[in-house]
């Protein structure tokens, strides 16, 4: 059944790519493009989409509109894009939460599409994660945290955002690497609706440990209310020269990052994909665009369609493993 579906999909992709070039290869884009953000205004993906829109509109002079279609942890907006006409005028502001995490974390019965069934275009940035404690916490390293959590699993309060948040796999990998079974600490998980709440709860002493993206935590780190123990990155960040990488902290196996990029409905014509790949590549090399990303504390990264697909596939396996350990998936 599944194979049949994939074959049909493949056939459609081939058909689409054969039949569309005639429809004016040189003319794309000839009317405004909609970039659908599957989340509400004001979130991380929304910010990145608006930065891209601004850059593209200024650079190419094309009308490029950001449309927010929030709801259902991204499922509603993603579905809309995947069902849209594959003409390059409806694109998705893609992210880990809108692709691999929907696929891995949700019960397939609740998701009205196959997460793989999209045209990958490219990645534009990665989102780095920090492990954090309260400023006056006795813990100085990740090992200290692990030690305490192992001995007092019922007292160890840790926070993440809800499902779809990148903090969940970051926490799960930490527990696994520390030899702490997921169900031992399941009861003391405190879930937050938005990214900013975790750092605030840390500063107030309502939780003991959290994993967060940089923009959410930076304000309270600078005010010396919370402290970063490690950063999930291959190298130390210029922003936090004193914060060790996870490998330096003795956790080389931890590897989680959020990302943002662009995707489209399945069967997007070759010329549209090429147009966007060239544009994203150019943007990645452009200091103006890199500055815009660094301004919002993202790391500029470019991955093309095939690399992004392979990357997503690997991430999916990772997240599926997390979901199984948490008992979310069988």
């Amino acid at each position: 059944m599944r194979r049949q579906f994939l074959l049909t999909a493949l056939g459609m992709v081939l058909l689409a790519s054969v039949s569309t070039p005639a429809a004016g290869q040189s003319e794309y884009p000839s009317r405004p493009i909609e970039l659908v953000v599957p989340y509400a205004t004001g979130g991380s993906t929304d910010i990145l989409a608006r930065i891209l829109a601004k850059y593209v509109s200024e650079k190419k002079g094309i009308a490029f509109n950001v449309v927010n279609r929030p709801g259902g942890s991204g499922i509603i907006g993603v579905r809309e894009v995947l069902n849209a006409r594959p003409d390059g005028y409806t694109l998705l502001a893609d992210t880990h939460g809108a692709s691999t995490m929907i696929g891995a974390f949700n019960d397939p019965a609740d998701v009205p599409f196959d997460w793989r069934n999209r045209t990958w275009i490219g990645m534009m940035d990665k989102d780095v994660i920090l492990y954090l404690v309260k400023e006056d916490s006795p813990w100085k390293t990740l090992k200290d945290v692990a030690e305490y959590a192992r001995q007092n699993p019922k007292k160890f309060r840790w926070g993440t955002t809800g499902r779809g948040g990148i903090a969940i796999p970051a926490m799960q990998q930490f527990f696994e690497a520390s030899g702490i079974p997921a169900d031992a600490v399941a009861d003391t998980q405190v879930l937050f609706k938005s990214g900013g709440e975790g750092p605030v709860a840390l500063a107030a002493g309502n939780i003991d440990f959290a994993a967060q993206q940089i923009p959410e935590a930076l304000g309270l780190i600078q005010a010396k209310r919370i402290r970063a123990l490690a950063v999930i990155s291959d190298e130390r960040l210029p922003l936090f020269p004193d914060v060790p990488t996870v490998a330096e902290a003795g956790y080389p196996m931890i590897d989680v990052a959020g990302w943002h990029g662009v995707s489209g409905p399945p069967g997007l014509p070759r010329n549209v994909v090429d147009y966007w790949v060239t544009l994203l590549k150019e943007a990645n090399a452009d200091p103006v665009f890199r500055d815009m990303l660094e301004q919002v504390r993202k790391v500029p990264v470019f991955l093309g369609p095939e690399e992004l697909r392979a990357f997503a596939e690997k991430e999916y396996e990772k997240y599926l493993d997390v979901a199984r350990k948490l008992g979310w998936r069988k």
Binding site: G71, G72, G159, R163, T188, L191, G196, E197
Partner: protein, 505 residues
């Protein structure tokens, strides 16, 4: 007094021609969007956000903030005149405001709303100027258990909001709670009450429900009763729009609601919608005119508008100093800051003084602009109640659908709005108040959120409450108010029955 020096520098910046122009433009656009029936701050900012993308940081944030409070303000105009709140925050304004409009006192209601908004905005800004960093620590000390206590306490309002029949009120609230639970569950991401309908995964949109229950219901009611216009009363001459007695009567309500609205607005997750309910309820309990609350008390309008405006200004405290925006509108503003590399956090006042104080300065100015802009229009707006209703009704429907659609760009939400219009009409026929429904709907997600967090903090139980005196205090207060309200209700049952019969006849 260092703050005063900084603020005056901020004023100087805000008064430069460009910044002033953007504040004015934002106020104008915001008010224009706000007075369109069915469009409030959320929809307004969503529509106008791209306009600000081309500006440099300070003008952009000035303009966005102005759009926000302008739309907030404009929303109360339609709430009063035609019972169409553009946002949950003006639902309570409509309760007394619309009754006043029907009695030919639209001018008074509009004028008092304008003045109360101005007073509350200014008081809240003074609070923001002098106490913002201190208030951030207050917000920090209100953790999930304390907020849970506060929400449980607020639930006792269901009793006072129920109208003549408690049973009907509880039924209405229960419906709101049920509607509030539709969608993906926030912890496990499991679909609840969605029956396989994909758009329901995103939950039922609050604004769609409010538009349906109030605006559409109002249209259906008027069509059913064959009303020719909202009010057939003769309008008083302009100098009699707001009498001195009315102004004096509402002055206390303005001050109290500004103070309480501001304090509540500093807490995490407290939106103007929730806060206006809480403050209105509190004011009703202390007011000398409490018997008329709900049937056109001018103090009610003053309290509602004071609360939501003070709260919106106070919402800048958790947004700026802690990076936790209570509402979508605040989240949009915060993303504006982040895009420009301004980091919300306790140090924002020290690190970005020019920015913060210019924006605060422009908000003081914006408040004055709104008052000057709107008071002269009171007479014009007030005439709207005499426009033939078939004309107004079609406009209400049109703009409600546009407004509902804009919030999430969803046609499904327009359908939701229509369904709730029919539900609201049936509820009205059965004499069930829609207010407890709205309250249940806005409190449920907060309650669930804080309850789960409290349980997580206690390692799977509510045990952590025992260490939290403030939380216990709120819970106790909740039970005591509920008990008193029930007692008073039992005592006044006979009276209520009389009133009910009188109203029905």
């Amino acid at each position: 007094m260092e703050n005063l020096a900084l603020l005056s520098a901020g004023f100087a910046n805000a008064l430069t021609a460009t910044n002033l122009a953007y504040a004015l433009l934002g106020c104008l656009l915001g008010t224009m969007v706000g007075v369109l029936p069915g469009l409030g701050p959320t929809a307004g900012m969503a529509i106008l956000l791209p306009v600000t993308a081309w500006l440099s940081p300070i003008p952009a944030i000035i303009m966005l903030s102005a759009i926000f409070y302008g739309a907030m303000y404009g929303g109360s105009t339609t709430a009063i005149l035609i019972n169409v709140p553009g946002e949950v925050s003006s639902v309570i304004t409509a309760v007394d405001g619309y009754r006043m409009a029907q009695r030919g006192r639209a001018g008074a209601a509009l004028a008092v709303a304008a003045i109360s908004s101005f007073v509350a905005g200014t008081i809240a800004l003074i609070g923001l100027t002098f106490f913002a960093p201190a208030l951030a620590s207050v917000a920090l000390s209100m953790g999930p258990p304390e907020m849970l206590g506060l929400i449980v306490f607020s639930m006792s309002m269901i009793i006072t909001l129920s109208g003549p029949s408690l049973l009907k009120g509880v039924f209405s609230a229960a419906m709101g709670i049920l509607v509030g639970m539709v969608g993906l569950d926030p912890t496990l991401g499991k679909a609840r009450f969605t029956f396989g309908v994909t758009p329901l995964l995103g939950g039922i949109d609050l604004i769609a429900v409010v538009m349906g229950l109030f605006a559409l219901t109002e249209v259906f009611k008027s069509v059913a009763s064959g009303a020719l216009s909202i009010s057939s009363e003769r309008l008083p001459p302009w100098y009699r729009f707001l009498t001195f007695q009315e102004l004096r009567a509402s002055f206390g309500a303005m001050l109290r609601s500004s103070g309480l609205g501001f304090l509540l607005g500093c807490l995490p997750g407290m939106t103007p919608g929730v806060v206006s309910f809480m403050v209105y309820d509190a004011e009703k309990k202390v007011s000398r005119n409490s018997r008329n609350f709900g049937s056109g008390a001018i103090e009610g309008v003053a309290a509602a508008e004071g609360a939501n405006n003070a709260c919106s200004a106070a919402n800048f405290v958790p947004m700026l100093t802690l990076g936790i925006p209570p509402s979508t509108s605040m989240a949009v503003l915060m993303s504006g800051l982040i895009i420009y590399g301004l980091q919300p956090g306790p140090l924002i006042f020290e690190k970005e003084p020019a920015f913060v104080w210019t924006v605060i300065g422009s908000m003081y100015i914006g408040n004055v602009i709104l008052l000057v802009l709107n008071l002269p229009f009171v007479g014009l707006w007030a005439k709207l109640v005499r426009v033939p209703y078939y004309f107004i009704a079609s406009l209400i429907l049109l703009f409600c659908f546009i407004g509902t659609y804009t919030v999430r760009n969803s046609l499904f939400d327009v359908g939701t709005c229509l369904v709730f219009g029919i539900i609201g009409f049936l509820m009205d026929r059965l004499r069930i108040s829609a207010l407890p429904l709205v309250l249940g709907l806005i409190l449920t997600p907060l309650f669930e959120n804080f309850l789960r967090q409290t349980i997580g903090m206690g390692g799977g139980s509510l045990s952590v409450l025992a260490e939290r005196p403030i939380a216990i205090g709120f819970l106790a207060l909740g039970f005591i108010t509920a008990a008193i309200a029930l007692y008073l209700r039992a005592k006044g049952a006979g009276l209520a029955r009389c009133l009910d019969a009188e109203e029905a006849s």
